[in-house]
Symmetry: C2
Subunit: 324 residues, 2 copies
């Protein structure tokens, strides 16, 4: 890329290049796979508009749709901070970048909101720089963004947001992320009950020690879920979606969690659980119709108990971010 | 089968039918998959000779190769007891059965010795009764045998011994066993150092509580190993063969465990660990030559520290038991 440097620092009045990118929301954990599994959906997601400009430095110009919740300071915002990290890595710190972040999904919903923003930004800068890194290679940069947003750099949201589909984070040191296949016709039914469950608090509720017996049950299910994905066996995926360790604690924070489960299972879900650290819940289904029935029934119930909610029905996103 | 009943109780001097069966040794746990994963090998294994006779009842006539360690009492021996359990289930308790068990593998070696015997017996009686049950349906009967031999009915040895290949025991209640694919060219290098590690003691050494952090690492690896099998990716299988929970404790009972690991990895293993509860160790390799080099190096080392050993090099057994 060094032969482009002169072009970029040449004084110009207009944007050298502009790109608009969508990055998907993600469901981390997938019930049994706490901290190691996640998948991406086609809706919701975030959008980033990014421009290369002559003035060096990364500037976050505007955030919409966040109700003023996110920092505009380019060192504190996950999008601009991870773009800086990327440019520093490729030794192009002289590049001038202007960013607009358009939040198109709820913050603090357990749907990987910060990941979607970060990944949209990283995908955009990588496109603008000529695709220097592969999707997998972008994961550590997005983890840096997660560290800024959540206090620690996990990968179970950012890896599926970047790579699309189901992703296994086998190991962090060294980072080892593996793409898993998506069964035919799989749909996700997501409902976000508008109650407040901060990620940090949700993590702190989890016990530090667990019974080995329960851990064995859990990794039997993790292995079952992964097998179900490879075998295109949605029923196996569904019966593996059990969490004996984390869900019992986290579900307390979600209004009428067991009712929502019942409504999901009665309306054709193969499995149901908490998305990430909640409060969003999700179900996996074999078709779109079941997914629609589930979100409808769950939203109706939440309405009855005076809780506003948002719902999303989507296929699993298999491509990751895309240019709009 | 009811129309055969008269034939069977008719007085005759000779055996009505005789069969000789081989059933394979198995490597349970496969390092990270404690209590949920196992695979079968072509060598070693046990042999059972079974005859239908006119005199009702199940009789264990003879055991060879056990150094007198196993009970001949047909209610206490795992082979005859599980055959009885099978006949009771199919309501054919009037059938007369004579059994000879020929142990062709070490007892208490961590290679599923009791499973191999049990499975050989169950495969034999099922063949003689006209294959009433599928391999998968035989698993609970073999678990009954394990209960007799080990005090509890686990499935991570018997399921691969019956079904062949790699098997995941996702759940016990209800029992859910899943066949996993075997990567091309995979070989197992097994060495049994002749030291005494009773299964019950080996289990009791394991901590009942574990750190959630370690459990997450473990199920990341279990998921990685399963993915590696499906992706035909031996390197992924190998780097997933890590056990942060059980191996640190159990390996203490195995002479020079870390030296044996080093010798395995230096000679082409993709992964190495304890077979079942030990003291046998195993390595997985991409070819037969590496497996032979590994067992040779490990046996030489054990000889130097005055420990007798037995070694087996085998492809993964993909068919389960077979008629000889």
């Amino acid at each position: 890329m060094s032969n482009n440097t002169n072009t970029l620092v040449e004084p110009k009045k207009v944007a050298l290049k502009e790109i608009k990118v969508f990055a998907p929301a993600t469901v981390a954990n997938v019930v049994c796979g706490f901290d190691v599994l996640g998948f991406a959906v086609n809706a919701p997601g975030d959008e980033v508009v990014m421009r290369l400009v002559e003035e060096p430095g990364v500037r976050l110009l505007k955030i919409t749709g966040d109700d003023g919740k996110l920092p505009l300071n380019s060192d504190k915002n996950t999008v601009s901070a991870s773009v800086k990290h990327y440019l520093s890595h490729i030794k192009r710190e002289e590049v001038g970048v202007e960013i607009e972040l358009h939040k198109k999904m709820p913050i603090g919903s357990g749907l990987g909101s910060s990941s979607a923003s970060t990944v949209a930004g990283l995908y955009a800068i990588n496109q603008l720089m000529g695709n220097l890194l592969t999707a997998k290679e972008l994961v550590p940069f997005a983890m840096k963004g997660e560290e800024i947003a959540c206090g620690y750099g996990h990968a179970d949201n950012v890896a599926p947001a970047i790579m699309g589909g189901f992703v296994l984070v086998r190991s962090y040191e060294p980072l080892d992320v593996i793409s898993l296949p998506v069964p035919d016709g799989m749909f996700a039914a997501i409902v976000y009950p508008e109650v407040d469950v901060p990620t940090k608090d949700a993590r702190q509720m989890i016990r530090a020690k667990v019974a080995l017996k329960d851990a064995v049950t859990q990794w039997g299910n993790v292995a079952g879920l992964v097998s179900g994905l490879f075998l295109n066996d949605m029923d196996l995926v569904g019966r593996s979606m059990k969490d004996v360790l984390v869900e019992p604690t986290r579900s307390i924070l979600i209004p009428d969690f067991e009712v929502l489960r019942k409504l999901a299972m009665e309306n054709g879900a193969v499995g149901f659980g908490i998305s990430g650290s909640g409060p969003s819940v999700f179900a996996l289904t074999k078709d779109e119709e079941s997914a629609k029935k589930i979100t409808k029934a769950q939203q109706m119930h939440l309405h009855q108990i005076n809780i506003n909610s948002q719902a999303y029905v989507s296929e699993v996103n298999t491509e990751g971010p895309r240019t709009l």
